[in-house]
């Protein structure tokens, strides 16, 4: 399946990324209102804390997605090996690790929650999985950005070989 060019997935990917960004921004806007409001559903302190984490993690998520949109645009414009993209990858891994750390703090705090144990254990496991996913993704992006850095260096050398 082609990712770029005619009859490719590029339009679908672009729409998908923009929808994700819109969801993140919506969570940023709506999350604040929900957290501030005193709903009876959120009386449990662990639920409220998780909601705050979800709300706060939507900010680095929005940053992460906007970086991916930028990388995809440069891919379409054939300016892949650009220092701007290296910066975008760096911002992406920082955002991903921040999200991982947020969920890690939340999962550690859940461990000490004196609330309904059955529910907490399932939720804790899910939070640990999310934490691991973001941390692994962040580390993967660190490796990718280093590869990218070398690729840019080789490209520059190639461009300056007459």
């Amino acid at each position: 399946m082609k990712v770029l060019g005619k009859k490719s997935l590029s339009t679908v990917i672009k729409i998908f990324l923009w929808i994700l960004l819109a969801i993140c921004l919506l969570v940023v806007i709506m999350g604040g209102i929900v957290v501030i409001s005193d709903f009876s559903f959120f009386n449990s302190s662990s639920t409220l804390r998780s909601l705050i984490v979800l709300y706060l993690s939507s900010i680095p998520a929005a940053v992460l997605i906007s970086q991916f949109i930028g990388i995809f645009k440069s891919l379409e414009n054939n300016e892949v090996f650009d220092k701007k993209n290296l910066k975008r990858l760096r911002t992406s891994y920082i955002s991903s690790i921040i999200m991982g750390i947020m969920y890690l703090i939340n999962s550690i705090m859940l461990f000490f929650s004196p609330e309904d144990e059955n529910w907490i254990i399932i939720y804790m496991l899910l939070t640990y999985i999310i934490t691991l996913v973001f941390l692994i993704f962040g580390v993967g992006l660190i490796v990718l950005s280093e590869i990218y850095k070398r690729a840019i260096k080789y490209k520059e050398e190639n461009d300056l070989t007459i």
């Binding site: 520059e156 050398e157 300056l160 070989t161 007459i162």
Partner: protein
């Protein structure tokens, strides 16, 4: 860099312009300018061969090693 390209000196000796040389050896004037201004990272043997052929010189006349 310790390697200096003395292409401008050779061009002056042969009374040839950069434009003329670039046309004769088949590289763009922009690339020749990179070479002349010592901004290049490497030079292909084929390019060096073409330059030497056109300017009737040896690689030593074009390239010079200067200790930093």
């Amino acid at each position: 860099m310790a390697i200096i390209v003395n292409l401008d000196v050779m061009l002056a000796k042969r009374k040839m312009s950069s434009q003329e040389l670039s046309e004769k050896i088949g590289i763009t004037p922009a690339n020749l300018s990179i070479l002349k201004t010592n901004k290049g990272k490497a030079i292909r043997f084929s390019t060096l061969d073409a330059i030497c052929k056109e300017l009737d010189c040896t690689p030593g006349d074009i390239l010079e090693y200067r200790k930093n």
